[in-house]
């Protein structure tokens, strides 16, 4: 299966700061997704981004499929951004998840 590595594993930010989360894959990227697991445990879809760049408010994501990585940018972070961020890709029926980046935004 695909190996997915996320970095950094943990991140603490002051409110208002920017950050970049990275996801590396062992094989070429097919259907990359970014998820946010909020402090209440819900897994929220952030981006479906097999390639290119997308933006949604303060968040944006870039996937370079041929180089097997994706980046998630969080600008002007807010306390509500806290939680765990996962990336995932699938081949056929199977989805492969990273181990997540745990983000804490301090007021």
């Amino acid at each position: 299966g695909i190996q997915v590595e996320q970095s950094p594993p943990d991140l603490i930010l002051q409110e208002g700061a920017n950050s970049t989360l990275r996801c590396n894959f062992s094989d070429s990227v097919n259907n990359l997704q970014w998820f946010h697991q909020n402090p209440w445990g819900q897994l929220i879809n952030l981006f479906y981004i097999p390639s290119g760049t997308k933006q949604n408010g303060r968040l944006s994501a870039t996937t370079v499929a041929t180089e097997r990585y994706s980046l998630l940018y969080i600008s002007s972070s807010q306390t509500t951004d806290s939680g765990v961020y996962f990336c995932a890709d699938n081949t056929g029926n199977q989805f492969y998840f990273g181990t997540g980046t745990s983000l804490t935004v301090i007021p």
Partner: protein, 115 residues
């Protein structure tokens, strides 16, 4: 109108009991999944069904039995619960995975605590 819904959201039960978690999706997706998330947050695939047919059956104890009465529903039954079964169980669904595309959507999770 929740896309992927699970019930119950919380279960607290004694060791040895049997419990079920139900999942329904109204997205019209063909493929549904059960994931287990332990305390370290890793999402581990358990089962997947495509149009009521079992297509992924990872190494889980046979005390866990999935059942898909139709493509919109995937239930999970757990017999003889053990302490190590305590976790959050997520249902998810995706479309067109067999065609190489597919975006995954999760339910809200069911937190199981075995005492």
């Amino acid at each position: 109108d929740t896309a992927v819904s699970q019930t119950p959201k919380y279960l607290v039960t004694q060791m040895g009991n049997d419990k079920s978690i139900k999942c329904e999706q109204n997205l019209g997706h063909d493929t549904m999944y059960w994931y287990k998330q332990d305390s370290k947050k890793f999402l581990k695939i358990m089962f997947s069904y495509n149009n009521k047919e079992l297509i992924i059956n990872e190494t889980v104890p046979n005390r866990f039995s999935p059942k898909s009465p139709d493509k919109a529903h995937l239930n999970l039954h757990i017999n003889s619960l053990e302490l190590g079964d305590s976790a959050v169980y997520f249902c998810a669904s995706a479309d067109r995975v067999v065609f190489g595309t597919g975006e995954l959507f999760f339910g809200e999770g069911s937190r199981l605590t075995v005492l």
